[in-house]
């Protein structure tokens, strides 16, 4: 907007040199400023979180729940009932699991880890080349992290964490890029071979929002798996997390898992 050289333009008649340049500038700024403000307003309107009623209607209020999960590895007998129940409940495709059980056998001479079909059909006895001094099972699943790497990498907003603390995948939005499958440090996600979208444990959201427990918790015969609402002081999960020495999987990643473990060995990753 520099009008200093007052020479005639090649195609237009010379403008008056004493034209009110300030007024012109003011007008221009007004127009562009107004346009920017309008666009910013439109964008803000599109992105503002409104106080919409929580999903689920009167039957379930997600503001009143914050779900958490406790796994007591010292109780697990490795029967795999949880794995079978999860697959039946959620129609998990052949060859994939949403929860699985790992077995750790170790001694001074070495260690051995297995999880045949995720523990779907239990575990066989195994010969080990070393003399084991300890052996135990570790059930694993999605940790429903507060700081979720899988949600952060989703390019289309298909992965998200609900207000009651459940990480889920919107199958209609998912484009099947698989970033989340790679981002999850716990290996909890897979791409469904039929729909080609990412799937994972939902803590049986269709059950917990109806007052039922997740299928894996429902069938566990030894109470290894405990699930509940952290907002209620009388819930066993809250009691355990408040009073016992609990640990989490791969804490150094700062993902803030909401699956808490009792009696977890340092061998487990």
């Amino acid at each position: 907007m520099d009008h200093a050289p007052c020479t005639p333009a090649p195609t237009a008649p010379p403008p008056p040199c004493d034209a009110p340049a300030d007024a012109e500038r003011r007008g221009f700024l007004k127009i562009t400023g107004g346009a920017v403000a309008l666009l910013a307003g439109l964008d803000a309107a599109a992105n503002t979180e409104t106080h919409a009623p929580p999903p689920g209607g009167d039957a379930y209020n997600w503001e009143e729940h914050r779900w958490a999960y406790v796994i007591d590895t010292s109780k697990c007998i490795g029967c795999g009932s949880c794995v079978r129940a999860c697959k039946a409940e959620n129609e998990v495709p052949e060859g994939f699991v949403r929860t699985w059980v790992e077995r750790y056998i170790s001694g001074p001479g070495g260690s051995y880890v297995d999880s045949p079909k995720g523990g779907l059909e239990g575990f066989p006895p195994v010969p080990t080349a070393f003399t084991p001094t300890k052996a135990f099972f570790v059930p694993k699943m999605c940790n429903h992290c507060k700081e979720t790497p899988c949600v952060q990498v989703c390019p289309v907003g298909a992965s998200y964490r609900t207000k009651d603390g459940v990480v889920m995948v919107d199958g209609k939005s998912c484009i099947g890029c698989g970033y989340c499958v790679q981002a999850c440090p716990y290996g909890s996600r897979y791409l469904n071979p039929v729909t080609h979208t990412a799937e994972k444990c939902t803590w049986c959201y269709h059950r917990i929002t109806k007052g039922l427990k997740p299928a894996c918790v429902e069938v566990c015969p030894t109470s290894t798996r405990i699930f509940g609402n952290m907002l209620r002081e009388d819930e066993p999960v809250r009691q355990i997390i408040d009073h016992e020495r609990v640990s989490i999987m791969q804490g150094h990643l700062l993902t803030e898992p909401q699956c808490f473990y009792l009696h977890l060995d340092m061998e487990v990753r």
């Binding site: 012109e24 919409a52 009932s81 750790y104 006895p125 998200y160 609900t162």
Partner: protein, 154 residues
């Protein structure tokens, strides 16, 4: 104004571009996106009713199978859900009506999943070395020849 014509041209292009982006966004971004966060809010309600709960727990069996339920509740399998050896209730009952026969796994392999002696189980948990415990042929429902699965202690 004559001098600023090129600027207005650029501004016009920018405005048209932004308008195209906003209109395109309106078509491409799902309706309920952004209500609770950067995701489609409708999916939360969709997940709630994604499927019918298949497992209903042991209490759901009691009304029709009172005898078996009492035997189980008094025995050492009181913590084992019926649906572990049988199948999810939904295979058998839907909307309060029997829809088909309830499957059951009577094979020794079903018992072995919990009670075969393997590395890893807590020591106090009852386990047997199958080959030593079963003196006859290890096949089919051999365990049930001696044990009642609803109250297995002899």
């Amino acid at each position: 104004m004559e001098h600023a014509r090129h600027v207005f041209r650029v501004v016009l292009v920018v405005i048209v571009g932004l308008a195209a982006i906003l209109i395109g966004r309106g078509f491409l971004v799902p309706k309920s996106h952004g209500i609770f966060g950067a995701y489609r809010a409708d999916n939360v309600a969709e997940q709630m009713k994604a499927r019918l709960p298949a497992h209903q727990g042991a209490a759901s069996c009691t009304p029709c199978h009172k005898g078996k339920a009492e035997t189980r509740a008094a025995g050492s399998h009181k913590t084992v859900s019926c649906e572990v050896c049988h199948a999810p209730l939904l295979r058998h009952v839907a909307e309060g009506k029997v829809t088909g026969p309830m499957p059951v796994d009577k094979a020794f392999t079903a018992c072995a999943r919990c009670h075969r002696k393997i590395q890893g189980r807590p020591e106090k948990f009852p386990q047997v070395v199958l080959e030593q415990h079963v003196t006859t042929k290890l096949e089919g429902a051999v365990c049930l020849e001696c044990h009642d699965p609803h109250s297995p202690k002899l």
